[in-house]
Symmetry: C2
Subunit: 352 residues, 2 copies
């Protein structure tokens, strides 16, 4: 029946997310979720939404949520766009701001959803090789382009790029949109949000799924000049009037308002990361520098696929990418609790 | 800065949803919400989701929800697609199944989001005029096409089309996808779901926003052959891995499982509708036959825009469409509670 499909469907290679196992009792270190649940204030706010008012549509513009996000980032509400997870925000961004006659640029090793969006919207792109040490060299992006996008810190390497480098890129690249995908920025990477005031072609995306402990709620946002945000609103309002449900809005507002809880959990994750890096190094791992809630590490002797499979047998799930070949030796390990780190380390000691 | 926008953004004419007023104490009869809140079992299920588990992603495939929907409709799980409201389901449908070399057909007076999706995905379409009595004449759709879509009952007229007519259309039209948008079907219109077994090119869309009282939760679904559903999955997995958050999934599952509550509230809405139609007729309104939770009515003397404005002054909101001119005399009135009907009727008595 595939004659019934639109042409584009035949050509798609959909994104494959990390496994969401339906078993309990796993040490789940594969999809970069926060090991700590959301703030108690968030849970209280969410319980209040389980009410008769669910019969009514939510605010199509999510004004209350945008106001809170704007306040936290010292921006105006018309510089904020919200979506059903940062994946939806990115999808609209690709269609609204990154589809041009010239190729979109992004690293060859990066969030693997980017080429998928290009397939969905028929966007030409050029993958720019990371340097030998897996860093992004911004000079490589100084070429004809219809847009530039990369995560900071990058995924799945976790390596942060200094803010000065991003500013240099923005100074040179003024004629197309530069998207900095800051999904993991709160775990020790410098944010580019403050550059929005000076660079109207800068869009920064954030998520509630990582540092805000709300992957189950699906909220992400973009920050940028009112012009960029307007393009996203036009696409959103041509796609789905009400992408943010009442729970998503209430939970995200409460999460933004509880700065103390947010800072505490981020600090705990960073501390656990630093301890884990040391212990893995002792066990013979090379660990890339991480500004994220995950690390990218390879063992000096055992391969990535093999180690992933062996850990799985011990009920520990990490993420492994078969391709490109340059990263096939690596494991991407989400930072969990200290107790989870301990289980991982003792499992590795048995295996190695 | 609009040089930064993709070409498509300049051409879009976004959909404008009905007003979601931020004032209380209004009689809100403008966006076809259910006057009755969700089932108590739904609220209980939702409260349980306000938990630590929100730190984890939801199931990207929403398997549990699909299983329950499949069971209710006597289909297999691979014949079910779920999305973030039926608007998202429709958006993916336009991109995945309705974009072809030949024009998409839909009524000239119908859900006004359809031409917006065509703009977003650059789909050629042909609007087919409704008959003089505002009914859909299926013979008019017997022509070259890349797909056919209409709501049943149609919006904003509320007029239902007999199932036999839909089957005749499917018998003639076998080479392109026929989408029956059944957002309002549970209020007294015959569903085409059972035809799915015989017509692999039939897709039927439903929503939790109307009969299931969950507009605030954002869940919709499509039913069809596994082939059609696969196309939607491919697009969804190239757009957003996790469109259905944990609350949306839990609430929708509980709503599907409470058939008694669902039938009771639908019956109440239908009874209120029948009483309201009689009273409006006495007041000099012509009311189109409705199989929906709204009616489309014009007064024999007063214009639609004027009446809408006058009702607004009395804190009653109904929906009015300025164009096309054929429907400018009409009000679209959502069926509320009997008490809301009473307020509407007494306001109209003062005004007329």
């Amino acid at each position: 029946m595939s004659k019934l499909w639109s042409d584009i469907v035949h050509k798609l290679t959909p994104y494959v997310p990390g496994e969401q196992p339906k078993l309990d009792d796993l040490v789940k270190l594969n999809t970069n979720e926060n090991p700590y649940g959301p703030s108690p204030r968030v849970l209280e706010a969410l319980k209040l939404e389980a009410a008769d008012s669910l019969r009514l549509y939510p605010d199509p513009n999510s004004d209350a949520l945008k106001a809170v996000i704007a306040e936290v980032h010292h921006l105006k509400a018309n510089q904020v766009f919200v979506g059903n997870g940062s994946d939806e925000v990115l999808a609209h961004t690709f269609q609204a701001l990154l589809k041009h006659d010239k190729p979109l640029l992004f690293p060859d090793i990066t969030y693997s959803f980017y080429p998928v969006y290009c397939g969905l919207y028929d966007i030409e792109y050029k993958a720019i090789a990371l340097a030998d040490d897996f860093t992004i060299n911004i000079d490589d992006y100084d070429q004809l382009n219809g847009g530039i996008i990369f995560p900071n810190p990058n995924a799945p390497t976790g390596i942060p790029l200094a803010l000065m480098q991003i500013e240099t890129l923005l100074q040179k690249n003024t004629q197309s949109v530069v998207v900095i995908d800051e999904a993991y920025v709160d775990f020790g990477t410098e944010s580019a949000v403050n550059l929005i005031h000076r660079y109207p072609n800068l869009l920064v995306t954030h998520t509630f799924s990582k540092a805000r402990s709300l992957a189950g709620l699906r909220v992400g946002y973009a920050l940028g000049s009112a012009d960029l945000i307007e393009a996203l609103m036009r696409v959103k309002d041509s796609f789905n009037s009400y992408p943010i449900d009442r729970f998503a809005s209430a939970g995200a507002i409460a999460a933004m308002q509880d700065a103390t809880y947010f800072e505490q959990t981020c600090s705990k994750v960073i501390e656990t990361r630093e301890r884990l890096v040391k212990e893995l190094t002792v066990l013979g791992f090379d660990v890339l520098p991480s500004g994220a809630n995950f690390i990218f590490a390879k063992h000096q002797l055992k391969g990535g696929a093999e180690l992933t499979a062996l850990l799985r047998e011990k009920s520990i799930i990490v993420r492994h990418f078969k391709s490109p070949i340059r990263i096939a030796a690596y494991l991407r390990i989400t930072i969990g609790t200290d107790a989870q780190s301990k289980k991982l380390i003792s499992a590795l000691k048995e295996l190695l």
